[in-house]
Amino acid sequence: MKSIGLRALHSLLLLVGASVLSILLVRLAPGDYFESMRINPQISNRTIAALRSQYGLDKPLPVLYWHWAQSALKGEGGFSFAYNSAAGPILWPRAQNTLLLAGCATLLAWMIALPAGVLAAARRGSWADLLASGTIALLLAIPELVLGLVLLLFAVHTGFPAGGMISAARAEAGFWDKSRDVIRHLFMPAVCLAAGLLPLLLSHVRAAMEEALRSPFILAARGFGISFRRVLLRHALPAALNPIISLFGLSVGLLMSSSLLVEAIFGWPGLGKLMLQAIADRDLFLVIDSTMLGTGFLIAGNFVADILLYLCDPRIRAD
């Protein structure tokens, strides 16, 4: 249990470090939200200076960071200039949408990758193996941007909903009607994300299984007359689980980055879209907050993977 506590502490420190890094990078660069007001001749330099001091932008970096950290602990995360409100209430629903999308995509990708990878490793050189290799090679070369555009075209041709999260007509409908509509809208972006993740998962699952199947104890188990299927699922799969679980943590980080793009293409109202808008508006805190949320999801993913490893692997528990 002590190791999990240490991991949690480590994750927390990492989060704090990442926040310092992001605020540093963002502040090192010239220009801020009020800079663009200078174009307007009706706003005097003094007004701009007053506004900056009102929002604390003229303070030195440590003070700015301290203010932000305090407000972040309260769940506000600073002030959004463009929305003229605390950043927190704007961020939460967006973060939930991103989580919904990323969660569905993860589920979809693993549901395909796990059985397919095991099958490809079990029957090397078979059509399943060839199909897996082909899929990996093909999807690896197609960036999500291109895949997204092609899926968008497909959606437009078939009349499948592929923009936003809910149809305007259904916004006021009952819960079930609404959920069904959201799921229909979720389908295309989730497929796009999952397809981007699939080659990585598939190739690693297959490699891990192949390595496990080469171990001597598999031969021994077969020698005892245990059926191949049982050996595959009860002996080889648990042995191959370690790298696969670590991969799960890693995949969350990749998913965060690609969902940024997929959300923009399909108009999914998540963090990615918010962040792009915040960048266009030069909305300092909103940019930092969305970066921090993305980072938080990544770190949380790795932490969950660590806990799963702890639960699944007695060797780690013994340490």
Binding site: V26, A141, G253, M256, I279, V287, T291
Partner: protein, 341 residues
Amino acid sequence: MAFVQSPKLPLVALATVYGIVTMAGFFAPYDYERQNRHTALAPPTRIHFVEPNSRFRLRPFVYRWKLRPGTLHQYEEDHSIAFPLRFFASGRPYKIAALIPSWIHLFGTRPEGNVFLLGTDEYGRDVFSRLLYGGRISLFAGLLAAGISVSLGLAAGVFAGYYGSWIDETIMRAAELFLAVPWLYLLLAVRAFLPLRMDPAGVFLLLIAIAGTIGWARPARLVRGVVLSARNREYVLAAKSFGASDFYILRTHILPQAYSVAMTQARLYIPQYITAEVVLSFFGLGVGEPVPSWGNMLDSLQSLFVLESCWWMYAPAALLVIVLLIFEWFFRAESSRFQAR
């Protein structure tokens, strides 16, 4: 299968692609900003050998596009004048690789005619020419940024692994931080507070610098591992006891071991950074109009009409996939050759 497994063929293919985009001015019949407002979103020009009265001509010729009356974006060929294609035709002046001035283009027609190999975009600009000019930005940005990332990572990793103690500790903690932020978020966060509109050359260099710098952590960690295991090998200790300098040991004994790690990282980074430039420009945060990059060309596809009915506007996407496939082929061949040795 032997030629498929040798890295020579994909290398030649890559050199060809990079060569063509470097000499974009020669291969492109037009420059990237010439607009033809009355032939916006025209489909690719058809190249004919046979006239309407079935007379065969050895020299290929093209017709101009004419807007079908009463429509917005439907074109038909104007059969009244045929424009023969000219090869090595003189046209608008340009510079080869931004250095040597020239005005010879590989092909073209008389100035009144137009040859659009891949149609035109919504301003009536030649997509084929823009594709070549855009490749200059997209392809070189990826290559240079990956180069920066891998060399920075190599330097940091070697430094950390070889000198150890608090240097190692500091560098590795910093690397952990950089790895904790999803890379696209990091890239966007840094890009966010640089001026939105800059001159294209500035943006290009900036993007390369940012993307290259934020990617140092992963190669650094892996290289450090290799260096750590190499540092205390017997032959390194022997060299040390003979009085070899740190630099000598690093160069002859330790860096060669990091080669395959650096190679693997380059394999991951080059496609990732080519894509990153395309994505940033697609978002309007990269290289801006009128200078083309594959990303801001794909931006047109966000309009429903273009997405649905202008297949030639997908050309940058198609070329991107092809280039990424060739890169993958090259690295696969290269790594199998390395393993065989």
